[in-house]
Amino acid sequence: MGREVAETCMEGMIFEMVSTYSTRFYATKPELAARRIEAIGYQVGLQLSERYTTERPRFSDHLEAIKFICKDFWSELFNKQIDNLRTNHRGTFVLQDNRFRWLTRVRINSLPKKMDASQHDPSAPTPDNKTAQATSMHLYFPCGIIRGALSNLGIPCAVSADISNLPACEINYIL
């Protein structure tokens, strides 16, 4: 169970999956596309968490399981650990990754907006809006993976992600 593939192949496949679901399968219903992508991530997370926990002893409580996600699970997936873990001790955890690998290829659109009165069309979505929407589609897969992994370890939760400053990425989960 230890064959390897190039990382670019993985990234290419994930990009293609997100774009296929967004543009071909559910072009008019982005919410459904998001749910399908998240469901794929859920199953992958289940399988991965089962696979990566064979060698180590089991977890005695929630915190240990979450630390496992931050350290071992993340380093298996992305070759690095989570940079920052915060909690409010009442069930909400925030994971922060300062350089989320799967989003490093996304270009940050920093062109100045041209306010030309003759061409300005207020009803069309602004370029920033569309970029943000497209990028957020890519976050459903990792959110699904984390939700699947935690569910398999016995912690049902809701996961959401936030990309206010690329390439950093914050993931919140609420138990």
Binding site: M1, E50, T53, T54, R58, S60, N152
Partner: protein, 134 residues
């Protein structure tokens, strides 16, 4: 070499997903009794599983001269074996190998987690492992 052995895999929702009589001299009339003993041991396993972080819980219960040994995975799937041998290392290796096989079944994208394992390939391999280790 064990004369009687019954092996079941119970998912996290307490649904048995795989059962097999793997002893070398299977007795037909005792087969349902073996199942009954294993299911009755589930309560004890539940309590014991939270007290330790090891995967292999050794003998959790005795019935006449049969012993129930249990192996719990991180996803709370329980592999339970009813046997009359005392070969603990062999049983531990058996559980570890079946765990690997179980993960391979899980990796199948068409396998719904928590449903019965119907693969005959898995069945053959488990019986071969039982002959080898028990």
């Amino acid at each position: 070499m064990a004369n009687t052995a019954c092996f079941i895999i119970v998912s996290r929702n307490d649904i048995p997903i795989y059962e097999a009589e793997v002893g070398s001299a299977p007795k037909e009339e005792a087969a349902h009794q073996h199942q009954f003993i294993l299911h009755a041991a589930l309560d004890i396993v539940q309590d014991l599983a939270w007290t330790t972080s090891a995967m292999f819980l050794k003998a959790v219960e005795r019935f006449n001269d049969l012993v129930v040994s249990v192996y719990v995975t991180a996803g709370h799937t329980r592999l339970m074996l009813l046997h009359d041998s005392r070969n603990e290392d062999g049983i531990k290796s058996f559980f570890q190998e079946v765990h690997e096989l179980y993960i391979k079944i899980l990796l199948n994208p068409l396998y719904l987690s928590g449903s019965r394992i119907t693969s005959s390939h898995f069945d053959t391999k488990v019986r071969a492992l039982a002959r080898k280790y028990l």
